[in-house]
């Protein structure tokens, strides 16, 4: 029971992480395409500046919870995906530094350099997270000793790449919507136009992914056994339709919330299908890591549950407050009055 609760929380943590960091990764990846001048570039940095840091802690927490609640899964997952994770790690470091350092000095080459680094280090993790998760859904070649029998290129299979493209497109869309809220003037319009264009490939990728999942993974088995679970992919699909509708009506916030529902629904769709596996083995079902064989002791799970039940609502409360505090459009005043962004 405790294991199952933690499995659900584990899925939720990843979903929240993708929902939040998804938009700032997307916005960073859109920077070279959307911003036409220095002010617009700085607007994009300002649009994500107050949030990216707190968003990234959801990743650290998701990682930490994997470590704490399912140590064996953490160990095998992270060592199997070694190179992919290292790439993500380098990107996250570069991104953080680009955010903090770009505005510190004037010079053209300084700022252009950081802009390119921000672009790469935002787009690549979006893609790689998708590749990693699609591979987890599909199962990876781990043997009974829990040793990974593949390489980085094993992960770059068609289904993995499809997952990567889906995530990338989803985050770009999510980020464009965010800029549609936070930016003003022409940049706002350009961002919303871009979102409308991105919605089409996103829809196609989502449909292809849902179909490919039938053939490439075992995820639907749970859905056939427990039909109530269909509510999760339904949430994603409904969100996908709603977000476009709201966008048409010019309801920027609603559109972004609907797109958040897509991210959460899509992540939980995979996670619910995965249960009771955390990391299925593609070569030997007995080698799969499950909530049973990978879980921590009941005492650890209990204590952590207590901490989570107390702390996570507090975290959500102050993060909501911060989002509320900085919900306004970025204005020329904000750009003039700045602390280095």
């Amino acid at each position: 029971m405790l294991e199952t609760i933690w499995f659900a929380l584990w899925g939720v943590l990843w979903a929240v992480y993708f929902m939040l960091d998804g938009f700032d990764l997307g916005a960073g990846a859109l920077l070279p395409f959307l911003a036409k001048n220095e002010d617009e570039k700085r607007t994009i940095y300002h649009a994500t500046g107050p949030f990216w840091d707190g968003n990234e802690v959801w990743l650290i927490t998701a990682g930490g919870v994997t470590f704490a609640a399912f140590p064996l899964a953490y160990a095998v997952m992270f060592s199997s995906l070694y190179s992919a994770l290292m790439l993500i790690l380098f990107c996250l470091i570069i991104r953080g530094v680009a955010m903090e350092y770009r505005g510190k000095l004037e010079g053209h080459s300084w700022r252009d350099g950081w802009d390119w680094l921000l672009f790469i280090s935002s787009a690549l993790p979006a893609l790689l997270f998708g590749v990693a998760f699609a591979n987890i859904f599909q199962g990876i070649p781990i043997d009974i000793e829990h040793i990974y029998r593949g390489s980085l290129f094993t992960l770059l299979n068609p289904y993995g790449l499809l997952g990567g493209l889906l995530f990338l497109c989803l985050f770009l869309y999510h980020g464009a919507l965010w800029l549609g809220i936070k930016a003003g003037g022409e940049l706002k319009e350009r961002a919303q136009r871009t979102a409308k264009i991105l919605w089409v490939p996103l829809l196609i990728l989502a449909v292809v992914f849902l179909v490919a999942t039938w053939f490439a993974t075992n995820l639907y088995a749970n859905y056939l056994t427990y039909p109530v679970l269909w509510v999760l992919p339904a949430l994603a699909v409904a969100g996908l339709l709603a977000t476009r509708l709201f966008l048409q009506q010019g309801a920027a916030w609603k559109s972004w919330f609907a797109s958040s529902a897509v991210v959460v629904g899509a992540t939980l769709f995979g996670v619910a299908g995965l249960y009771p596996n955390l990391l299925p083995s593609s070569i030997d079902p007995k080698a799969s890591l499950t909530v049973v064989n990978a879980a921590s002791s009941p005492l650890t799970l209990k204590i952590m549950l207590g901490v989570a039940l107390v702390m996570v609502p507090v975290v959500i409360a102050y993060q909501v407050w911060v989002y509320h505090l900085f919900r306004h459009e970025v204005t020329p005043d904000d750009l003039a009055y700045e602390e280095g962004y």
């Binding site: 470590f67 160990a75 060592s79 350092y101 510190k104 993060q319 911060v322 505090l325």
Partner: protein
């Protein structure tokens, strides 16, 4: 074997680099918070400028401390997967709680502080930086409790082929954790104090913004003085703790080979590089080591010869690092006491100011040396007495680790240069000039 060495080097590089930024984050956040509090209380704009100037340096440093911390968390899984699976039940939960209870707070309110100057009241803004400071220190406690558990595992049972939690309270309140926390955090506060004093000295020597930098200097001086004194006294008790819990580490710190009562220390002692004895032992002070370790000259101190060679930590590195740390710690007391005596006439003492300017790197060296003692001295164990480092490493392809190690070194090297160059640039530039008086 290859993966082991590469992974150890990589973890060493990652920790070393991470800890170039963490101490300043811990200490400077408090100093900035003190300055901002003075502004809120007195309304004196000079304190606001101080909070902004030191805050800018704080932020350049903060970002790197944060992102390089993620590396460490990831590496337990990527490079030390057998360790993660073996102790995740305890160690992992401490990291997860740290993220939930402290890291969120720090990362969220730093943004409020950066972007909130014009959007919230000064009081609330000041609360934000105190929350950042508090969360940073709280974060340190969880991380150090996790490290203390590797040094001195308690509150666990061996079950299902791994260490499982038996008593959470014991894990987070054990003496080792408390002492390690106090020692590390004080070291960090000293570093921040010397950082502020050193940069202030640079400007005072040039007679620039004299009032601004005199005030900054004095705030940092009191801060650094208190913690330097505290650190020396407290460090002594650490010695006793290590003697009991980790006798082979203590013996390596002193390069002490023969188990004996009235164990001596030497005025000059040099271990040989091969790590099997001393090259030079001059002028023994009988019983000094026994007193240091157990507070009793007749106490028996176990020597390295009584440990099997495979159970001994690398002696030379532990010994030298320990001496660097202790020597510098004493020097910090001297420098801060000297500064306190002349605090009213800093400008008349250019020699002192010049020394303080040059002293900026010293607490960095002391902090890193302290970690060398703690971590190198813990070898060959990753968890003392429970798991050897060599059994902890991931079963991964050495090429991957070699590539990532090279990438880390190049990448971190470059980032370090940029970060310190930026800090130096803004430090030298000094605070923003006062806005022209209005109407």
């Amino acid at each position: 074997m290859e993966v082991l060495i590469l992974s150890r080097l990589q973890f060493a590089a990652a920790t070393f680099f991470h800890f170039l930024f963490v101490p300043l984050t811990l200490g400077l956040s408090i100093l900035v918070a003190i300055m901002e509090t003075k502004w809120v209380r007195s309304g004196d704009e000079e304190y606001k400028r101080m909070a902004k100037f030191w805050g800018k340096l704080f932020l350049i440093n903060f970002g790197l401390g944060l992102v390089t911390g993620i590396t460490l968390e990831f590496q337990f899984g990527t490079n030390w997967s057998r360790y993660s699976a073996y102790v995740g039940d305890i160690f992992g939960s401490l990291l997860a709680i740290e993220a939930t209870a402290a890291f969120f707070l720090e990362s969220t309110f730093i943004a409020v502080w950066i972007f909130g100057w014009e959007r919230i009241s000064p009081k609330l803004h000041c609360v934000a930086i105190w929350l950042v400071a508090f969360a940073g220190t709280l974060s340190a406690y969880w991380i150090l409790a996790a490290n203390a558990w590797m040094q001195h595992p308690v509150g666990y049972v061996m079950r299902n082929g791994r260490a499982e939690l038996a008593n959470f309270f014991d894990v987070i309140t054990q003496r080792f954790a408390v002492i390690e926390f106090v020692h590390t955090v004080s070291g960090a506060y000293i570093l921040a104090g010397f950082f502020v004093m050193g940069i202030s000295a640079y400007h005072l020597l040039r007679k620039r913004e004299v009032s601004f930098f005199t005030k900054s200097f004095r705030i940092a001086l009191v801060f650094a003085l208190v913690f330097s004194l505290f650190e020396v006294v407290q460090g002594h008790f650490n010695g006793g703790e290590v003697a009991e819990a980790q006798p082979s580490k203590l013996a390596a710190m002193e390069s002490h080979w023969k188990t004996q009562k009235m164990a001596p220390m030497y005025l000059l002692q040099v271990p040989n590089l091969s790590g099997d004895g001393n090259l030079i032992e001059w002028i023994p002070i009988p019983g000094a080591l026994s007193i240091l370790a157990y507070g009793d000259p007749h106490a028996e101190v176990k020597g390295l010869s009584d440990f099997k060679p495979e159970d001994r930590p690398p002696v030379f590195l532990t010994f030298i690092s320990f001496r660097i740390m202790v020597g510098l710690g004493m020097l910090f007391v001297l420098l801060t006491v000297w500064g306190f005596l002349i605090r009213k006439k800093l400008l008349d003492n250019p020699k002192y100011l010049r020394i303080m300017m040059l002293a900026i790197p010293l607490p960095y060296i002391a902090n890193e040396a302290g970690w060398m003692v703690a971590e190198v001295g813990r070898q060959p164990w990753i968890v003392w007495g429970l798991m050897r480092t060599s059994d902890a490493v991931s079963p991964v392809d050495p090429t991957q680790v070699a590539v990532s190690l090279i990438a880390f070194i190049l990448f971190y090297g470059l980032l370090g240069v940029v970060a310190f160059w930026l800090m130096a640039r803004f430090a030298k530039k000094g605070p923003e000039p006062l806005p022209a008086a209005q109407g």
